[in-house]
Structures are given as structure tokens and as C-alpha cells.
Symmetry: D4
Subunit: 224 residues, 8 copies
């Protein structure tokens, strides 16, 4: 049987050709999968790739994988599982992950875990709100020293605009569902970021730390 | 016939008791009124009050009033008519009107016209966007020197958060309909301001420069 | 190491410069913080400030603070923690907090707790709905005697309009999430308030009793 | 060919059975019909009924009908055409049509024209806003003396709640598209009315003066 | 102390004047009240009125009232409490309550309980969907024999249009939150009803069986 | 150069392989194309196909095509251009196009033009509203005699539910933007159709008569 | 008593005439029905029909039916109950059910159960996302070999467009509520499908696998 | 007077420090500016920078600039003005701009003009819709050869997902307002892109070709 670029497990078609086309192996979306299903997919991928990332995962899935793959790690706050049979080659440069508030940390963590499993270096900047601009100005040079910036914010989502006006590096904005009332589960932040007056800000889905990190990794990869 | 506190013109009941209750005379909402209707209402009010403000007005209404009241002024960009038979007593303190971009000027003008007809002093700060924070930091002390701040912004509406974090004075935010796409005619700015991380920011309707100015005038009036 | 105006705790940058800039010390947003995190931030602030407010807090946080700061109080219905090492200087004037219905009391409480920890005097007016206007007219003079009015209402949010038409004082409207069906968790009340025909009504986020109180405190502070 | 209860004109099936089932003859929705189409339908109906109402009409349609039916009247502000070959029997009682502002008059007119062509008596109350409650209280007894009340309001749509709390009669609320910004073309008023704390308020579509009047006529008809 | 028309319980101002103004005594909105609060309000009202209705109630409130008022009844599916010290005078006529599906029964029950406590006669028509029109046509004459019709429907909310085209009686439509996906908790049904091509359909809030019944009772009362 | 299945005109890549894959030739979306662009694409397609359809077209495009292709027809109300070098093979069966009101005719026309250019037989049923069910019941047998039904309706969009409950044939529903206020440009009708209690109703975009007709043609084609 | 085409159970009117009109027997919407109610309806239908389908069902209902009807089956992931006293006649052709991801399987199952109880043949294609087009191209011929295609997708809902461009068969798209953030419970997928550039795609409600299957069965039935 | 990093023109504060901080000079948002205002700002910037870009511009502004700056160019379809006193240094790499349909060309043009004035190389791929995947597969290698991809699409916005699954390069998605009905002016495309199953896709505001190009230029700049 010829190689079709995927393995059909019946309940899933695992894309084994992803790295060739896209540079990184397939990432498993854990939501709604049984531990057995997650494990079956993991086997297919880890036979071919040194590392595995399961996003939106749960601890039962993590246990299933850990029983078979000793390097399994469960990142609780990030809701991610990683398995590292061998390290992925280091990516050049570094990514700054900036958080507007402490409630955004689980999204920032998802971004950090994603970057690190794919060889990216991460620098964290936590609790940098626009209501205290001195906290932002104090790290201006450190931000500029990064290759790419991921800026995570809930509520009004104003931080990416302020950051983009201070540095020359690409800014990827992640709205979070933090807030209440007219934040509408992150919609206010999302709209704020889409309408940013800071030129060049790009945006991913609400709480999508993984997506921002993947985009950042693609940019780092260009330097190599 | 006893004084009911209003004059019934058939098509309108003019509230002649407003100043006694609320401190300022009734303001006429010009939208949808014929010049003749606007004039009839103006006559009732100017018989009793030294000044008149018509908001959301048009030039035909202005011409009708000017023919009878020589002190009529047509503020085109603010879409307001003012008539000043005698000046209203000066209010103490001053109001800073801050604009995020040059497209917001007609809203800022509506606020300024409103304040000035009711005796308020206005200081203007134009084109202070969060994408160039040095422009904001340069006026920090001048903002703090005002009694109240009106902050006008479209797009992501982030300026009020940044201002509120720098000064101790009440900040009234006015979202404007400036923007395109997912700004949804000012909704993005409105949501941003309602979710502001800057404590104490209050908000008025989109493009409602009049409402912000009226609220600011009420605050100034408390000092007297 | 020079004073940067904030203390970096790793998971949070506490803004120790807030009172100098904004007149009141930083308020802690309790949502999503562990008791240990809340305590660590409280230590930094209470070393420098006589009082502390944690909004959107929970009882576990309250217990952690109470173990170290004897003056800790847990305001359950308001979901707030206060600590008062020494009283904050009294603010001049008073704030009237008006409620449309009994279901709005937790939001009114949040406003009252906020004002009182920052030295404000509060007068409560409870269950004043527009469907029984005599209940409103009966307190008209008492409302006018306040310096600022906070009007809390769910459902159609009509009360601020009626109040603003009766008094000369600034009215800050707080929509609440009370209602069902097409109230959409407070959106109907929010829109009603933003479109108020009562001149000068300003609005804060749904259920944001804290924000309304903070704005009221800023206005009281102007009188001193 | 047996009577099917409708006449098929090819481009329209005119419901000639409506009066038998529903008590009033079919009303023509003028929007999008050519003058010739409107005339053809009018002929079918006026052959069978003493009166005709075309809602959402235009002046070209009115001219076409007037050329053939001398009693044609074009109600410009109401955007309605009426033809009255013979008067419809008088309905008992009366309907009070209450307007919050002068901008709502075209909707109130549509309601009045509808009621009058179907034999209803109308009493108008104009410009009764909640921001000046004395204007409402002054007409309380006159409102109670009506059989049904239609309350028309834009912006925050608070008037029906206040009226419903003062009288014992059915209140039909009509939101109008008057307002700007977050009024969203009448949505704010619509939501306000749907969430009214005034028990028993029922609501029709935005700007639907016709629908409110038709419902009121149905109620009047019950008394006969 | 003069009679103000309300009793101030501190946490609530009970409107004791409601029946004089509005024809029916105040109805208590149970949501968010403790059993003790509900009981205190019930005492005030039952001292003055023969009957009491608590809507959006719970069983704990019902138990508190039952301990003191033996005629207390807990209507579980309707989420209502009634107390009947003495029967309310019978209202003339009758109200037909029509349900589109069996999932709408709790809303229809709320309407029925409300009408019956205020002396209204109710006739129920259950499970009359537009996807089987013969079920509707079979009851056409029975519907016409009622004085007012309340039509309850979720999903696309089409039933009121069909009913209104068959009868001459007022139709009050109640959208329900029954459905899934793009029903958006009753919004689809609400919009369907507001845009009904059946002339004269009026609408109340989603799931608001109480409001529809109250409006129907007001209409019945006109006949007496 | 090998055949890639498309012709690259620089400003457009014309899909010349569509008929082989999908059974019908590519249809041109006219919106936003200059007459010259429309003509260039038409040349590519008519060289290979006997018929051409341009949807969302304008008269300038029609003139450009007519100058070169004598069989060009401009269907004004349907906003379509057809060119028929040779007739497309007749499809078996027939499609019933049902309209709720006369305002929906341009959408019904777009559907009819689309079907006819691709060999479909069309039967029209006009002005069949649910507010006069006898008009629908009168054509029940004629509807059942069709192979597929396209049901076009604005406002509350209830007609597809009623039709689907009467016949055994596939029903494709087309919401139209007819209505005002809370019809939101066809959203009310769209939601009504998506939530239809009539089993098996499928839905296309607002005003998308073309899409419904294309789907109907695909079903007819299955019979051949 | 004459046969009215329905049986009135008091709480429900069971449509016993559905098969005669619509080709398939009534399907029971399980949501909100007690086991006893579901059983009573099942008795009425199974007395007349060989098969029964209860959608949106629960296991308690399934147990109640199983106690009386031995052929009862509970399809957990599909949330459906089927009872098969005798098989329904086989429908000609086959339906391909295509899934974009593994999280969509419960919706695909609902479609499959519905088709199979009504005699349809089903072919499953699982986990065919647009982010790995080779997985789609690999099954192109198998898809074309089906009579109708049901395409199930959450997130951005792009799969139906890609499928429709590859085959000549009718495509019925089912958006699912899979996703997070700005997927808004399936709205993003729904809008994507309604705006599909793939000609002829029709759409059903979010998660409505039943509706898609019913429409497919109607199309299959046309071939017989 | 010290250099503040901006020039205050009264109506605008021109950010002359932008290039130092952000790598590119300030871009002028033309919307709402008079030609004289645009010219005044252009003078300030062109005194300091070799190139100028005015986005969302009009031809009157272009004429005003052309009269003073001979290298002024008016890009009509892109609604941009460029002035090039001296060329900006070439950026390494190249950007592929991919269009889903011919209606998206003005947005693609805005992106191209932006990139070219800032030294970027652009390769255009026009009319690559997902309904004809062979058109996409034919350019797969050419896309991979670019450094960054900007993918522009209206309607359901599915193209970025398909592209992202084929290449390893960063994909910036631009939703356009092309479509009708439930496309809601680009919202459907925006949501589709935010929910893309193609890992790493980032998104800018509807029709924001400028923003996407600016972000792409920032990424190119990293390579130098």
C-alpha cells in the first residue's frame, strides 16, 4: 500500500506528512478525545517524530500517555501534554510573552509550552497593564531585544497597541476571556486588538496561546 | 392655568422646569425637527433662559434661529447651535478634552461647545494616541491640572485606560464611530472603554460628546 | 536598585506608585489569584498603604489575609475583602446608592464597600423601581442632598433616566445582570443606560459596582 | 370556479377572506410594489370592502390609487395610503397614543392612521419623556381614561415601564429607530421594552406603529 | 406618618398602592430573594390583598410561606407560588393558552397560574405545531371562542403568525428558550414573533409567561 | 503547456474544469467586475460551454456581453445575465419555487433564471403567506407534484416549516432581506429557517436564490 | 369519532398522519419529555409504524421504551433511541457522511442513526480536515460515488466548500459547536457554510445531524 | 525647545520618533482629514523621511500632495497615496499576496502598495478559491518559496486554512467585506479565519490590507 501521507485509525486520519509540508509535526487537539484515542494517535506520531504536543488536553489523557512514554509531561495550567523522545532542534532568536494581568497566565503558559517543545526560547513579562505605563516602559529595551512578541490581554485588550508603538518587532496579540459583563468572554479584547492603532498587530482567536506560539515559531524558523 | 412646569406646543412639551430641578436649562435634540419646530421651542426656552443649546442640529435650523436671535451661532463640525442672550455664570475649574486622533474632532467639538455655553472652561489635547505614548506622557501634568477629563477615542478606544492610570481626576470616556471593519461603528471602542482596566472610567454613548460634557459640567458645578 | 514604582513578585508587578499618580492605592482584582498570591500582593501594598481592597474576591483569599492582618473583613454579598490598618482620610460630601430592585443588592454592596474603605460616606436607597414612581418621588430631596448618585438597575435599566431628570447631581449608572431572556445578562440594561434621555448619565460595565464607586470617590475628592 | 378565499393576480394572491376570519380586511404592505401592482390589489379589495389601508407606501402608489378612487388620502409622515369608500363602523372606547419625543411622530402617525381607518378613536399625548416625569404625571388621569395605550419611544425606551406603573390599561409598546450609536437602530429601545419592569407591557417590532394599532383595534373590538 | 403608598422594609419598598393604580396587586419577583425576605414581603401584601403571586420562585420560599399561610401552593413546573386568602373576583371571558410543543409547557403553566390567581378562566391547547397544520385547523373554532390568545413557541416561533391569520382575537406571543444551536436561547423565536406577518401579534420577553398572562388579564378586565 | 484545468487571465483564474468535477460549468460572480473583465471571463467559458450564467450582475456587464454574444439576456429583477449558445440538456422532474410575499420576487427570479439556464423546469407559486393558510392548502397537491421545492420568505420566515409539514419533497429555504426593524436584513428569517420544526428543511444564505437553485439542479440531476 | 390525523394525549398531540403527507413517520423530539411521556408517544406511533426514532433523547427514556419494546436501541454518542418492529424499506443510493474532525463524531452519529432507521445506506469518512488536503483528495472518487453528501464541521466550517468544489453531488453542511472563543458555539462554522463559495451547499442548524440526514433521506427517496 | 519626538500642528501631533522606535516612519490615516491637513502632516514627515504612505486616502488629498511633491502617486484601487523622495532600503525575502476572488483585489492592492513603499518585494497570486483546489495546488511551490504569505478572502474566508496546511511559512489572513447576507460585511470571513484549523494563522481587521503588509514587512526586516 503506497504512503498516502496519513494513517487511517478509523476514528481519525493522522497527518504524518505535516512536518514535510509545514515544518512542524502535527499537533493533537485533545478536546473530546478519549485517553485511548489520544494514545493511539500519539503512537502514530511518536513513531515518526521526536516530540509530541497535545493541546486542550486533560489529565486522563496525560496519564495514558505517561504509562507508555516516560518523557510525558502534563502542564496543568497550560492544559497541554508534551512528550519529548529527543529534543527538537533549537530555533534561533527568542520570543517575548507579555501578559497584561495575572489572570492571563494560563494562556501565556500554553504559548510557552508550545514554543519550548518546538525548540523556541521564551522570555516572560508578567502583569504589564496599560493602567501603569511605567511597568511597560521599564521593560521596553528587553522587549525590543526579542525577535517576536506575543502579547496576551483580556478586558479591553489595549496592551498590544501600546507595545506595538514602542518596538520594531512583530506583535502577535492574544485576547483572553478574562473580564466580566460587557467583556463578553473575550470579545471586547478581541475587537480591541483587531482595531489596534498599533500598526502591524496581528491577532489570533480568544485564549489561543497555542496559535500565537505556532505563528511565532514559524517566524523564528525563517531566521535559520 | 397653573404653571405645570412645561409648555405644550402640540408637537412638543417643552420642559421649562428643568433648570430648577437639574441646574441647567433644557437642551434641544435637533434631530428630526423642522426649522419652524426648532424655532418655536427656542422661543419658549429663551424667554426664560439666558442661553440655548441645540444638539444634533442642522444649518436650516440655525438659519431659522439666527433670523430671530442675533446671537445665534452655528457650530458646523460640532453639529450644534448656540444662542447666548446673556452669558451663563462661569463654572469653577476646567475640563480637559483629549482626542486620540484627528478623526475624533467633531465629537470633541460637540463636547467643547456644550461646556462653553454652560460656562465651563475647556482645554484641548489633540491627537494623543496610545501608539505613541510619549505624546501622552508629555502632557501628563497639564492633564492632572484639569478638574475633569473627557477622553475621546475611536478604533480600540484604549486611551482612557492609559490616561486614567496617569492622573487622579475623573475620566469620562467617549467612544467614537471612527474605524472600519470590526470597529462596528464604534462598538469596539465602546466595549474597550467599558472594560477599561483604568479604575473609575465612566462611559457615554458612541459619539455622545454632549453627554460627556454635560456630566463634566455637573461635576464642575459641585465645586461652586 | 532604584525605585521603579512597582515591585516585581514574578507572577505580578504590584503598582506601588498608584496613590501618587491616581490619589488612591492600587486595588487588587481577586479573580483567578490563589490565596497565596493574594496574600503576597497584600503584603506589598499594606506595607505602604493604610487600607487594602480586593474586589471579585473569594473566602479562601479572605482567610489567608485574615491570618496575617487582623483587620481583614470579608464582605460576602459584595465579594470584597477589605483590610484597614488605619482609616483613610474622610472624603467630603456623600454618595447616594440607589437600587432598582432587591436583586441588585450585591452590586450596590460592592459600591458601598469600595466607597467606605476610601473614606466616602454612603446613603442607601433600595428598591426604587420606575414601575412605582411614587417610591422615587418620595426620596427626591434626599437624592438631591447627596453629592453624587450611583444608580444600579437590571432589566430595562430605566431608573437612571428618571433620576437624572429629577436632580442636579452627577449620575453614574451601573447595569446589572439581573433579568432573563432578552436581558442578555445585563446588555439590555447597559444599552438602556447608554441611550438614556437623562442628560449627563455616565455608565460603567455590567455589575461593576466597584468602578462606579471609584469614579464617585474621585468626584468627592475634588471637593477637598 | 369555487370561491377559494383569495384572488390570484399572478404576482399576488389577495386574501379576500381575511375579514371573515380576522375581523378586519387585508392590509396591503406597500414596500416593493409598483404603483400598478398596488392598484390592482386595491381594486380587488375595494370591490369587497369599504376601506383600504396601504402601509409602508409611497407617493407614486398614492397617485395611482387617487386617479381611480377619489377618497384616496396620502398620509406622508405616516407613509400610509387610505381609501374610504364608506366609513368602517365605529369601534367602542378609545386608544391613547403616547410619544416619548418629537422624533417618534411618524410612528405615532402610522398608528393613528391605522386606528382611524378601522373606526377607532385616538387621543394623542406627545413628547412625554421620562426625563421630565411631571409631564407624564400631568396626564395620568387622561391616560387611565383610555381603553388601551400605545406607547412609542426610541433611545432607551423607558416610557412604557413608567406608564404601565401608573395605569390599569393594556400598554402596547412600540420601539422606534430614533437614537444614535449604541441605540443600534432601535434595538436598545426594543430590549428595554421587552425587559420592562412594568407588568403586562407587550411589544411590537421596531417602528411598527401599524402592528400596535392593529392589536389595539382588536382589543377595542372585544368591547362591542 | 402619612401613607406613602409603599412600606419600606429596608431591603425592599413594597408597593402597596399598586392595585389602586394598576388594578392588580403587586407581584413579587422571587429570583434572588431569601425565604425570609419573600416572607416579609408576603406579609405586607397579604395584609392588604386577598391573593399573592410570587414568580420565578423556588421551593424554599414556598416552604417559608406555607408555614405561615395555609393556602400557599407551590407550582413546580411554573416556578410560581400562590397564596389565596380569598378568591379574586372572576374576570369575564377566557384566555386560550396555545403551546407549540411539549417542551414549552413550563412557560404555559406560568401563564395559567398567573391568570387563575387573578380570576381568569384558562383553556389549554397543547402541542399545536405548524409542521402539522391539521392539528391547528382542528381547534380553529375553539380558539376563536376565547377572548384573548396566548401563543407559546420556541424554535422558529412560527405558530403565532399562523394563529393570528385564523382568528379575530388579540394574540400575545411568548417566545421560549426551547431549541439549540442557532435558536440562541429563544432569540430566533423572539425575532420570528416580532417580524410576524400576522397583523396585531404583540410579544413579551423570552419565557415570560407571567407577562403575557398579566396583559391578557388586563384585556379581560376591560370587559367587566 | 499542459492543461491545468484553469485559464489564468491575470486578474482571474477561470475554472475550466468545473463541469467535469461538478456537473455544471463555472458560474461567474458579477459583483465588482468591470464589463471588460466579465467579458474576458465569458469568452473563456463560452468557448468551452454551451451556456453561461453571471449572477449579481449589472446592465453594463450585460451590454458588454450582448455586443459579442447575441443570445445574451439581461434579467433585471434577478440581476442575472444568461448566454445560451446552445441549450443545456433538459433535467428530469421540476422545481417548485414558492414565495411568501411579493417583495421576495427578485430572489425567486434569481432562482428561476439559474434553474432554467441549466435545463430545469420551474413552477412558480407566488404570495403564499402563513397568515392566510388557505392559500397554501389550495396548492398542496401541486407542491407535492414537484420534485424539489424552493421556499423563499422574508420577515419571520415561517413558510418553509408549514410547507415541509405538508409534503414529502426536499425543501430548500431561502431567507430574504425583506422586512424592517428587528428583521435585521434577513437575519430573523434565516434563524427561523435554521430552527424550523419542519424536518429536513435546509437553508442557504440570505437572498441567495442562485444557491438554492443550484442545489435543486443537483438533486434533479440525480434522477437522470 | 372521526380520524383527525392526530391522537391527543393531553400533554401532546401525536401526528399520526405524518407518513401519508411527508413520507416518513413522525420523529419524537426527546428533549424535556419524561420517560413516561416518551413511552406514551412511542406507543401511539409504534401501533401504526414499523420504526421509531427519538432524537435528543436520554438513557432514562431509552430504558422506559426498552422495557416495553425489545428492539429498542440506545445510541449514546448520537443521543438517539431507535425501535425497529420491522425494517423500513431500503432507500436506493447511499449517503456519505464526512467529518472534519474527531470532535464532530456525535453529530455524524446522529445523522447515521437517522438514515439507517429510515432505510438509508451510509458510508463514513472521518477526520478529513482542510488543513491536510491530501486526506480529502484521497477520497474524492469515493465521495463522488455517493448519492448525497453530509459534511460535518466545526471551527471555521471550511470543509463543505472544498468538498462541493470536487464533486457533483448535493452537499448538506452541518456546523458543529466544536471550537472555542470566537467560534461562539458553532456560529463561526454556520456563517462559513452559509457563505460558502462552493455552489449549491445547503445548511442546517448547528449540531443538527438529524435534520441533515432527514433531508438526505428525502433526496434518496426521490430515486425510488 | 527640546525635541519631544513629535511636532504639534494644533490639529495633529505628528510622531516624528516612530522610525527610531518601530523601524518604519509614521503612516498617515487619511480618513477624515482635509487636503490641507494631509499636506501639513506630509511636510513634517517628508522633511525627515524618504518616503510617505497615506492610507484610506482620497484623490483630493493626492492632488494637494502632488502639487508640492512631484513623486506623489495616487493608487486608486488601493485608496493609498505614496510619496517617494528617495527609495527605502530593500527588505530581504518576498511576500506572497494571495487573493480568493477578484472582488478582493482592492485589499490586496493596499497590501502591495504598503509593502513596496517600504522596500518589500511582492508576488501576486490572484483568484485562488477553495472551490477549485487545483488552482491552489498549482501554485503550492511558488507559495512556499515566499518568506511570508498574506491571504485575502471574503465570504467564508476558508483560503488561509487551506494555504496554511500546505506551506511552512507564516500566514497572515485578511478578511474582506466581500459577500452578502450572512457575511455581515466581512464578519463571517473574520470568524472563519480566527477559528482556522490551519495552525499559526494570524488575522488582521476586515479589509485591513495595510495592517497585514506592515506585519509582513516587520517579519522581512528581521532577516536583515
Amino acid at each position: 500500500m503506497p504512503d498516502q501521507g496519513f494513517i487511517d485509525l478509523g476514528f481519525a486520519r493522522v497527518d504524518t506528512d505535516r512536518r514535510r509540508r509545514c515544518g512542524f509535526p502535527e499537533v493533537v487537539f485533545g478536546h473530546g478525545k478519549t485517553p485511548a484515542e489520544a494514545l493511539a494517535i500519539a503512537r502514530v506520531l511518536l513513531e515518526r517524530e521526536p516530540v509530541l504536543l497535545v493541546s486542550r488536553a486533560n489529565s486522563a489523557q496525560a496519564e495514558a500517555l505517561a504509562a507508555e512514554f516516560p518523557s510525558t509531561r502534563w502542564h496543568e495550567r497550560a492544559r497541554c501534554i508534551t512528550v519529548e523522545r529527543a529534543p527538537w532542534p533549537k530555533l534561533p532568536g527568542s520570543v517575548g510573552i507579555v501578559c497584561a494581568g495575572t489572570s492571563d497566565l494560563h494562556v501565556a503558559d500554553e504559548a510557552a509550552v508550545t514554543l519550548e517543545i518546538f525548540g523556541g526560547s521564551v522570555q516572560r513579562f508578567t502583569d504589564i497593564g496599560v493602567a501603569g505605563l511605567h511597568r511597560l516602559l521599564a521593560v521596553r529595551d528587553a522587549l525590543e531585544a526579542c525577535t517576536v512578541l506575543i502579547v496576551v490581554a483580556g478586558m479591553e485588550g489595549a496592551l498590544p497597541s501600546a507595545v506595538a508603538g514602542l518596538v520594531s518587532k512583530p506583535v502577535i496579540a492574544v485576547p483572553t476571556s478574562v473580564g466580566y459583563g460587557a467583556s463578553f468572554g473575550g470579545v471586547a479584547a478581541l475587537l480591541g486588538m483587531l482595531n489596534s492603532c498599533g500598526s502591524g498587530v496581528t491577532v489570533v482567536n480568544i485564549d489561543n496561546g497555542f496559535g500565537a506560539a505556532y505563528a511565532a515559531a514559524q517566524i523564528l524558523r525563517l531566521q535559520s
